[in-house]
Structures are given as C-alpha cells and as structure tokens.
Amino acid sequence: MTQASPAPAAGAQLTTTKTTVEFRAALVAMAIVALIPLGVSNPYWLGVLIVSMYFAILAGGWNLLAGYTGQFSLAPATFAMIGAYTTGLLGTYYNVPPLLGIAAAIVVSGLVGLVLGRAVLRLVGPYLALTTLSFAEIMRLVASNSIDITRGDLGLGVAGLPIGRLAWYYLFLAVLVVLLILFYLLLRSKAGLFLQAIRDDEVAARRAGVDVVFWKTAAFTLSAAASGLAGALYAHFAELVTPELGLIAQTGLILSMAVIGGMGTLAGPLVAAFLVYVLSEWLRDVGGYQLVVFAALVVIFARFFREGLWGLAKAAVRRWRQA
C-alpha cells in the first residue's frame, strides 16, 4: 500500500486484519511442513504428506468458492479429475510434455469451471448442490465409460517426472504456498470484500454496486483452475489417472477438511487437510475407522463448532490472553 491510497473503511480494515492473521498462521504451518523432511525420511509418510498437500490445494480452492463466496459446489473432486485427464490424455495422444500438460489442465478445468459457474449463477443452496452433484456424476460416468479413450476404470498411465520423492514434496509445497499467497492477495484486495459481501447478502451486494455475475463466475473459475492444477500434479505424481479421482467420496473428504478446519478462513482448511489425511492414514492402521470418525466429526463440527478448528484455536488464544 502506498501513502497516496485512501484510508480503507473500518469494515475493510477489520477483514484485512483477520485475513492477515490467518495468512500468517497458514505460513507458519507451511514452514513447519517444509521442515518435516528433516526428521521424516520414510518414503511412505512423505507420500502421505504429498497427498495431504494435494487435498490442501483442493480444500483451499473449494473454500474460496464455498467458504468465501457462499457457492456450495459439490464438484471440487471432479475438477481435479478433469485436470488430471487433461494432462494425461494430452501426454498419451499428443506427446505433450508434463509441464505443458499441467498448464493446459489449469486452463481446461478453469474454462469448464467458467461455463458451469456461469450456468448455475441463479441457483442457491440445495439447487446448486444438486446441479453440481449431477455434473460430478455425469463427468465421472463419461470418464469411466469412454473406454476407447480413457481406458475406463482401468485408469490411464501418465508419464512421471524425473525427480525423486523429496523433490515432489517441495514441488507440491511450493505450489501450495504460491496458491496461498495468491488467495491472500485476492482476499486482502477489494475482491475479497466483494466475494464475502455476495456470500452474506447477494441482493444487498448487487444493490451496493458489486458486479455479482462477474465475481461469482470468477470465484468458480479460480476454484476450478486450482483444483485442476492439483489434479494434474497428482496425475504425474501417481503416474495414473482413474475416474475414482472424481468420486463423491473424494468430495466428501475435501468438504470435511474445510468444515473441520473452519470454512471461510484462510488457514483452517489447509491445516485441517494435513490433520485429516495424516490421521486417516494412521487410523487405517489402527482399525480402519477413519471414515466413521471423520464423518462424525463433520456432523459434530457443523452442528456445534461452526467456525471449525480455527474458531476453537481463536477462542483458546482469547481466553489465554485474558487470563
């Protein structure tokens, strides 16, 4: 901010501060994640953390759409699948190199997000959830039934990158941090206020001059592009794409991360993605109750702790300061 810029209104100041605190907390969390490989060299757990980062990107992207703009899409996993198939099919049929394929994945999933976002502009709540859910199922059916092109449920082999697991780890982390900074800059700007105004009261936002059509579509496009990027990266990491990437259960996992972490906060969903996924891998060894536990946690958090872990942490800090 330069000296010449006018002083922001009180409301803007409040939101900026809140977002900045969350951004700093998220950066601290990412710094801790960056240090983990110093102590953990087990490739299995590094792999678990890489998949956690995949989910963190998805949860973050979905949070921008659902948590900040109030557009409750049930298709985040589908955009990851679209991104993964974009780079996978381009590589298989046109020998497109992975980096170009990933770039294409961002563009294609962003465009699909733009079209879908544009189409569902007028739908809210249950209607939006049902439309995006059908979109997700149709896309998955297409991927799994176009056997001649995608090899269906067998999955499509994708070229890997000539880098080791540790390099993958830092590649995912770098992408995650870049997205985090982008989201922060977006939310700190006026656009962030526009998005949240649309979430809180769309009619009032339009009345106050917010270009609702543009910003709702923009949030859909950005969120889809971020998911597509995550999916494309994951495709090259796993060296395989299957329609399972777009399963509703995957969306359920993304949703639970955002809800448990705290929807509409920058740090919550990112941190929760790590907690949920690492814990679920650990619980899988203990007895396989991970999905029961997380589903119960989602219901309990949604019912009793609406601000998620971030809200609980904030309350704890406040109490500690008062004491």
């Binding site: 569902v120 739908l123 439309t131 059908s134 199922e137 259960a249 119960a296 989602v298």
Partner: protein
C-alpha cells in the same frame, strides 16, 4: 407396441413405484424445511439391513420384519430431525447465514457416517433379504415377472396411496401442508411446527426404509446400496417440482419408464446418466419442475 415394449413399460412402471416410495419422503422434507436430505439413501440402506437381519438372524417372519423396517427408519428419521435439523428453524438467529450450507454439510456428513459405520460394524458384504413369496415366475400376457416383485409392487401402490391420502386429508397432513406453505403463519395459527417437522422426518425415514426392505431380495443390502436410489429421488423431486407430492409420484413413474426404455433403445452404459442430465436441464431452465408452482424462489 411389440411384446418387449409392453414388458419394458410394465417393469419400468414397477421400478417407478419403488422410486416413488423414496421420492415422496424427500419431497415432503423439502416442502417443510426447504432442504435436500443427502442422507435419504442411508434410510433406505438401514431399512434393507433391518429387514434382512431380523428375518435371517432372528428368524422373524417377513410380514413382521417389513413393518419393523419402517419403524427403524422412522426412529432414525426422528433422531435426525431432533438432533440435527432443529437449528434450521428453532430460533437460532445467527443460523440464518449459511443455513442451506449447514443442511448440505450435516446431511452429507450423516450419509458418510452411516455408510462407513455399517461397513465397519456389519461388514462390506452384501446380504440377500428373504423374498415375500417364493414364486419365481408369474406370466401376465407378454410380461414375465417374479412373484416377489409383483407382490412388492402391489404393497408399494397401497403404501403410496395411503401416504398421499394421509397428507391430503388427515389432520396431521393438513398441518404439515400448512407449515410447508408458511411456517410463521402456521405457527401463529397454533400449529406445532416442530412436531410437524418431526412427523415429516419420521414418515420420510420410514418410507425410505420400507422401500429398502421391500427391495432387499433384489438389491442385496450392502453399505453403499442407498446411493443409487437416493440419486434417483433427487432427480425425481426436481422433475416433479420440489415439495410437490403428486409431482414426485408422477415423476417417479415417468423416470422408471424412461430409464427402462433408454437402457434398451439408447445406451445401456449411460442409463444412469439420462436422469442426471434431465435434472441439470430442469434446474437450469425449469427449476419449478413439471408441476411446481411458478415463481417459487430458487
């Protein structure tokens, strides 16, 4: 119309009857709370298990197991309404924000919870429920049908008609319709809106569980068995107009027949996609459905 067309039409119609058992409850819930219950398929799944397990493990006669499944579903519906749905209307002022999102999250979470709980406690294996009658083939002109399916279709017709009559003429049904039309107005007229919501959830859960029990000899109870009929009932409530009970019944029968013909004449692989495409087209271009009132807020 050739013989195979008659067969397809009759079998599609019967499938539609089972869809209707599911869709009517979902539509009632939408009417009274303006939410979509994403755990609806799990009521169906629980009903299939309740029927199959008491009939197989305890040796209870099927004619007792069938109403038992209804009661289990109704109890589950009541518990869901009581613990998770009350905040949607019971004076939690701060809940106005993100109300729809809360409903989606909490029912979606409940659905995942029930599927995985059953998967861990009872196991992922499929159980085949005992049929109501052992007759394997009944020939009605060009139509070939199993005895169980024919009997189940008859029971489904009776239950659907009874439900429709209950909603239309009974005192409770009138209260439910009043709350659906205007919750505040109904409460001012002295109607217990919490009780009306509870009754709707019990009826809806019971009907879905009953459908699961009726179909358990065909579908084989397994933890994720409810997903498929739930998706069908979402399609149906959108087609029929959200909240409209007659619309839900007509749309159920229509979808059953469309799918039956579509699977043979269009594409077997994409048979599940027809309804989903219809759902998207309707939501985008005719959100009030076939029979819904025009001008309903979307």
């Amino acid at each position: 119309m050739s013989a195979i067309d008659v067969d397809l039409a009759v079998n599609g119609f019967i499938t539609g009857l089972f869809y209707a058992l599911m869709a009517v409850g979902l539509s009632l819930i939408f009417g009274i709370l303006k939410i979509v219950n994403f755990a609806h398929g799990e009521f169906y799944m629980v009903g299939a298990y309740a029927y199959t397990l008491v009939a197989l493990a305890l040796g209870v006669p099927v004619w007792v197991a069938l109403p038992f499944a209804f009661l289990v579903g109704a109890a589950l519906g009541w518990a869901t309404e009581r613990t998770l749905m009350r905040p949607l209307y019971a004076g939690y002022t701060s809940w106005g924000l993100m109300r729809d999102e809360y409903a989606v999250i909490v029912t979606f979470g409940l659905s995942l919870f029930l599927i995985n709980l059953v998967d861990k406690v009872i196991g992922p294996y499929a159980y085949r429920g005992p049929p109501l009658v052992e007759t394997s083939r009944v020939v009605l002109g060009p139509v070939l049908i199993s005895g169980h399916r024919l009997l189940a279709a008859g029971i489904a017709i009776a239950v659907i008609l009874a439900t429709a009559a209950l909603i239309k003429w009974s005192f409770w049904g009138q209260q439910i319709r009043a709350v659906s039309q205007n919750r505040l107005g109904a409460s001012l007229a002295g109607i217990d809106t919490a009780k009306a919501s509870a009754i709707v959830f019990m009826l809806s859960g019971g009907l879905a569980a009953f459908a699961g029990a009726l179909l358990s000899p065909v579908i084989n109870a397994s933890p994720d068995v409810g997903i498929f009929p739930a998706v069908k009932s979402y399609i149906i409530v959108v087609l029929g107009g959200m909240g409209s009970v007659p619309g839900a019944i007509v749309a159920s029968l229509l979808l059953g027949v469309i799918e039956s013909f579509g699977a043979v004449y269009l594409s077997y692989q994409y048979r599940d996609a027809f309804g989903l495409i219809l759902l998207m087209l309707f939501l985008l271009f005719r959100p009030q459905g076939l029979f819904g009132e025009k001008g309903r807020e979307v």
